[in-house]
Each structure stands twice: as structure tokens, then as C-alpha cells.
């Protein structure tokens, strides 16, 4: 019983001393922060004062450089995409026009004829291709791709007087498609697309 009282007394003494020291520490920290703040406002030594205008100018220059860099990035981004933005309408117009070309159509119907496409995309269709592309200026380098919706059949028509390297894969290009109906034979017609693939040249 006596031992229990002794332990309780020791424990209460320790807890009291810890709480006192913590409160003292907090009080001193509070005081030092307060003094520092007051000192900062009343400090007249002027460590930063002579260079304050230089610092603000440096900030101004950094801001200007960042603004110029951002604007040049935006402009370069627009330039990169300007070929597609400017020429999509032309590609779309070419696709619509070509979808109505009589050279691609079956005689009896208003659909694209698979046999006419075979002829136009083959070696024997030089004259037909010449007639098909006669209405277009040579300024736009483009080829025509016609494919059935199920990808079973695909035709590629290129103009005659173009270098073989002009339609290389790595060149910048854009494509516009229109839906068409292709007559595979008098008994079978399938939906498909006619795509004009426009390649970037020195003009555009």
C-alpha cells in the first residue's frame, strides 16, 4: 500500500515536469517568432533594398522570355497543322468530285463499277487515267483509294505523270473520304469509301 502511494507521487511529479517544459518551449518559440516578425519589419539594414529593382527587372525579363517562348510554341504548333487545316476542304472537294466522275461509274447504274476501277488502277488504264485527271491542275499531288466496307477489295488510282517516289509513306499527307456504292457485278453491290489522299508539296 505504501509502495503504491510512492509510485503515484513519482508519476505525477514526472508528468507535471514534462508538461511544464513543453509549455515553456512553446512559449519561447512563440516569443521568438513574434520578435523575428517585428524585427523583419523594423529592420533598416536593407540587405535586399539596393537590389530590389534589379530583382524585379529580372522577374520581368523572365516573364517576357516565357511569354515569347509560349507564343512561338503556339505558332509552331499551328504551322505544323496548317497543311491539314488548310487543305482538308480541297481534299474533300476532290473526293466529292471524283465520286461523281463518269469514268469510275457503271454504264447502267449510278454506282462505281469494279471493272472500271480494275481498268483505271491497272497498267492498261493509262488513257482512262489521263482523262480522269485532266480536269485537275497539277498543283495538288493526290491519289485515289477506293475500298469496299468489308476491306475485301481495294483499288488505288495514281495519276500517270507523277514520280514513283512522290507517294512515299513518310511524306506529310491528309485524306478525305466520301461514302460510295461499288457494283462488283450486276448482281452484287457493296458499300465502300472513296478516299483522296493529298500529299504535301512545295505549293501547300
Amino acid at each position: 500500500m505504501k509502495r503504491g502511494f510512492l509510485l503515484l507521487a513519482v508519476f505525477s511529479f514526472i508528468s507535471n515536469s514534462i508538461s511544464n517544459s513543453i509549455s515553456n518551449l512553446l512559449e519561447s518559440a512563440k516569443k521568438s517568432v513574434k520578435t523575428n516578425f517585428i524585427l523583419m519589419f523594423r529592420d533598416e539594414i536593407g540587405v535586399l533594398e539596393p537590389q530590389a529593382d534589379l530583382l524585379s527587372l529580372a522577374l520581368g525579363v523572365i516573364g517576357f522570355v516565357v511569354l515569347a517562348a509560349l507564343m512561338s510554341q503556339v505558332y509552331l504548333g499551328y504551322e505544323d497543322r496548317s497543311f491539314a487545316l488548310e487543305n482538308y476542304d480541297s481534299a474533300s472537294l476532290l473526293a466529292e468530285t471524283l465520286a461523281g466522275a463518269p469514268a469510275l461509274k457503271a454504264e447502267s447504274s449510278n454506282m462505281l463499277s469494279a471493272s472500271a476501277l480494275d481498268r483505271l488502277s491497272g497498267h492498261e488504264g493509262i488513257k482512262e487515267r489521263e482523262q480522269l485527271f485532266a480536269a485537275f491542275s497539277g498543283n495538288y499531288l493526290f491519289l485515289v483509294e477506293i475500298r469496299t466496307g468489308d476491306e475485301r477489295w481495294k483499288w488505288r488510282i495514281e495519276p500517270n505523270n507523277v514520280d514513283s517516289g512522290s507517294f512515299k509513306e513518310g511524306r506529310e499527307k491528309l485524306a478525305a473520304s466520301v461514302p460510295v456504292v461499288i457494283e462488283l457485278n450486276p448482281a452484287e453491290s457493296v458499300p465502300g469509301t472513296l478516299t483522296v489522299v493529298l500529299y504535301k508539296t512545295g505549293w501547300n
Binding site: A68, S90, P102, K127, S137, N139, W203
Partner: protein
């Protein structure tokens, strides 16, 4: 010298730092004004580009559509466009050839130009002149009644040469855009292709 080295008032520091500050401010403001002036030039160029693109689209639309039949007509007037009326140039020169439309202008001693190529076959003169030139070269005028008997490549080369001359257009007047068909006869029969004639 001793007096100079013992002077602790830092007047030289002060003067040098202020001079550097003034110089840097001048450079910064000059760069800012240059950037703003660059934007004005960019806007002027953009206006010309827009007009060239708009005219090109109008011509291409006149050329799109049917591959045969009666000739079709459309018109375009630069002065009817709000962008043209709002242009910040005193004088704009509009040239058209078989390949392109070119708008040229000058502002504050700097030349601006916008060029756009046409997608379809273009000739910068009227149909009577085309028929006359075809008759002179091939013997017939390429109409439905009198088709030309020649190779496509030969006719195309001839038309290409005809289209190389530039025609100057008046922006105040209407520009006619007419699709004319040239008929060609070969062993397989009569075929046709369209040309767009641009004239005033």
C-alpha cells in the same frame, strides 16, 4: 586617389547599377514593342491569306461537280467581302494565272503577298478567247459539235502554256468564274474535261 579609395558612399555602385537598369529597361521595352509590331504584320498577312484562300475555295467550288454537260457560271467580288474592305493596305494587286491566285500589297515599305494554288484546271481569260486559241492550234474549238482530235497530253500541255500568263483583276469589279467543257474525240469516242475560266 587615396580620397577616392576611402570614399564609402558607394556612389559609383549606385550610378552603374541605375545605368544598367535603364539600359535593360530600354531593351525590354524595345523587345515588347517589336513583338507587338510583329503581331500587326502577322494580322495583315493573315488577312491577305484569308482572302486568297476564300477566292481559291470559290474557284474550286465552281470547278467541282459535274464532269460533263452545259457550262456553269458563278461570280466573286473582293469588294463585297468584309475582310477586304477592312484591309489595312492602300492598294491590293490581285493576279490570277492558270496555277494560282496571288494577292500583293505594301504597307510601311514592307511587301506582303499571299499565294494559293487551284485544285482544278484554270485559264485566266474568257471562253471566246479559249475557243479562238484552240481553233488556231487544233483546227477546231473543242465544242460539242466540233471536238478536238488530239491526245489529252498534247491538249493539257497547250492549256498549261496558255495559263502561265498572269491576269490582273480589279477588286472593285465582279469576277466571272465559268466552267467550260472541252470535247476531245479519239478512237473510243468523244470525251470531255472541264476548265474554269476566270475573267472580268
Amino acid at each position: 586617389v587615396r580620397k577616392f579609395t576611402d570614399d564609402n558612399s558607394a556612389w559609383a555602385d549606385f550610378l552603374i547599377s541605375k545605368a544598367a537598369l535603364i539600359l535593360a529597361s530600354i531593351i525590354l521595352f524595345a523587345a515588347l514593342f517589336h513583338l507587338i509590331a510583329g503581331f500587326e504584320e502577322l494580322e495583315k498577312q493573315e488577312q491577305l491569306d484569308f482572302l486568297a484562300r476564300d477566292f481559291k475555295t470559290a474557284v474550286d467550288k465552281a470547278g467541282a461537280g459535274n464532269f460533263q454537260g452545259a457550262s456553269q457560271g458563278a461570280s466573286y467580288c473582293f469588294n463585297e467581302k468584309e475582310v477586304f474592305r477592312a484591309l489595312q493596305f492602300d492598294d491590293v494587286k490581285i493576279c490570277v494565272s492558270g496555277e494560282y491566285v496571288c494577292l500583293k500589297a505594301e504597307s510601311n515599305g514592307r511587301n506582303f503577298s499571299a499565294v494559293r494554288p487551284f485544285a482544278f484546271r484554270i485559264l485566266p481569260f474568257e471562253d471566246s478567247l479559249l475557243k479562238e486559241k484552240l481553233r488556231t492550234r487544233f483546227g477546231t474549238d473543242g465544242s460539242e459539235e466540233a471536238p478536238i482530235k488530239a491526245n489529252y497530253s498534247e491538249i493539257e500541255a497547250f492549256l498549261q502554256v496558255l495559263g502561265t500568263e498572269e491576269a490582273v483583276l480589279d477588286p472593285e469589279e465582279k469576277i466571272s468564274l465559268k466552267k467550260e467543257f472541252v470535247y476531245v474525240k479519239d478512237e473510243k469516242g468523244v470525251s470531255t474535261f472541264g476548265c474554269i475560266l476566270i475573267y472580268q
